[in-house]
């Protein structure tokens, strides 16, 4: 029987086995912490930073990603403080300006209340969430693709851009990619998401921070949504 620890997230007391991440603990308890690179069954990497939270110790507050944060006895976490909400919005805004044509990112934007971007829009196909790499490495144990390069030039690639023999052709990399979820057909607004997504923002404002298996979860393949057994893209 594993050791259990008790933590507090947004005022709610949660008991989880030692070693559980704060994000998993919160999601299981029904608190929605939006996330993108998180995926059940693989190691968290803390790359997207959407799931950031504040850890409160006395008057010291430290912002860190909840997916890589191990729950420790007595930890106090705030996932929806003003600072966290501002940071999360800004991070998603950066993502939106990189890849506005991704349904996953549009849903994420609606979930955190971002309707437009103050940056010039780009149109990338990949936001380096690493889901494909991790599913290949850890679930299928193929180790056929990975991150190469550094910084701005970091990208997902096959070695020497050739499919290696170790590739099992399982297509899992494509299945878990948030960019392959067909964006909604609504017209994009200048520097922003379309009216249909904007209406989702109103829904979000009404349902607050708890998870009610909202339709947005389907977009960014939220873990809780996946637990529902409905993994298929729209």
């Amino acid at each position: 029987m594993a050791n259990m620890v008790t933590i507090t997230v947004d005022g709610a007391t949660i008991r989880v086995p030692e070693g559980t991440s704060v994000l998993d603990a919160a999601l299981e308890a029904g608190i929605c912490i939006p996330n993108l690179c998180h995926m059940p069954g693989v190691e968290p990497i803390g790359a997207c930073r959407v799931c950031i939270v504040e850890v409160v110790q006395g008057n010291r507050r430290k912002m860190t990603a909840s997916c890589t944060l191990e729950a420790r006895e007595g930890m106090v976490v705030e996932a929806h403080s003003e600072a966290v909400l501002r940071a999360r919005r800004n991070i998603v805004e950066l993502l939106l300006a990189e890849a506005p044509n991704s349904r996953a990112i549009q849903d994420l934007a609606a979930r955190v209340g971002v309707t437009k971007s103050r940056y010039p829009m780009r149109n990338k196909d990949c936001v380096l969430c690493g889901r494909c790499v991790r599913v290949c490495d850890e679930v299928w144990q193929s180790r056929s693709l990975g991150f190469v390069g550094r910084g701005k030039d970091r990208r997902v690639a096959l070695p020497f851009d050739e499919r290696p023999e170790t590739c099992k052709r399982c297509n899992a990399c494509i299945d878990v990619c948030p960019m392959t979820i067909t964006p909604c057909p609504g017209p994009m607004k200048e520097g922003g998401i379309c009216g249909l997504c904007e209406s989702q923002v109103t829904m979000v404002e009404n349902i607050g921070d708890t998870c009610v298996w909202c339709e947005l979860g389907r977009g960014f393949q939220c873990a809780r949504w996946q637990l529902r057994g409905l993994l298929a893209p729209a």
Partner: protein, 162 residues
Amino acid sequence: MELEWNRLDEILEGRGGEGFDVIEVLQDIQGSYDYLPEEALRRVSASFGLPLIEVFQLASFYKAFSLEPRGRHLVTACLGTACHVRGGSRFLDEILGQLGVQPGETTEDGAFTVETVNCLGACALAPVVVVDGTYYDHMTPAKLRQLLEAVRAQDLEVVASA
């Protein structure tokens, strides 16, 4: 181009005991072949039992490694802060004008490869340019032009006599 692999076998011998060995092996290959040939990386992957993608990752992450063959002469311009405030970025202009290439590129005739480095630690002598391992201090565009012309002249002689 045929490459001989004896050197590679020597480099690989006895390596693999500690994690860092693979990076050291790549550094030795870079030093010996002046770049990392694809075949060498495949052999390293096989020898260490590491997935090819991991070896490729290492080769592409660290700036010390080059996946393309380098030119006969390496020109490195230092872009450290001290060099920058003393006009270091102008060397890139001069190099572009003289050699027609950007950092990271090699001239078509294979004579020069140009690179930049973010600090050599010789800041009191800024701005610094390194050519074929020799440091040149207090450089100016004029001095650099003369230096490149001298190296090119020497190179043409060597190539002609080969």
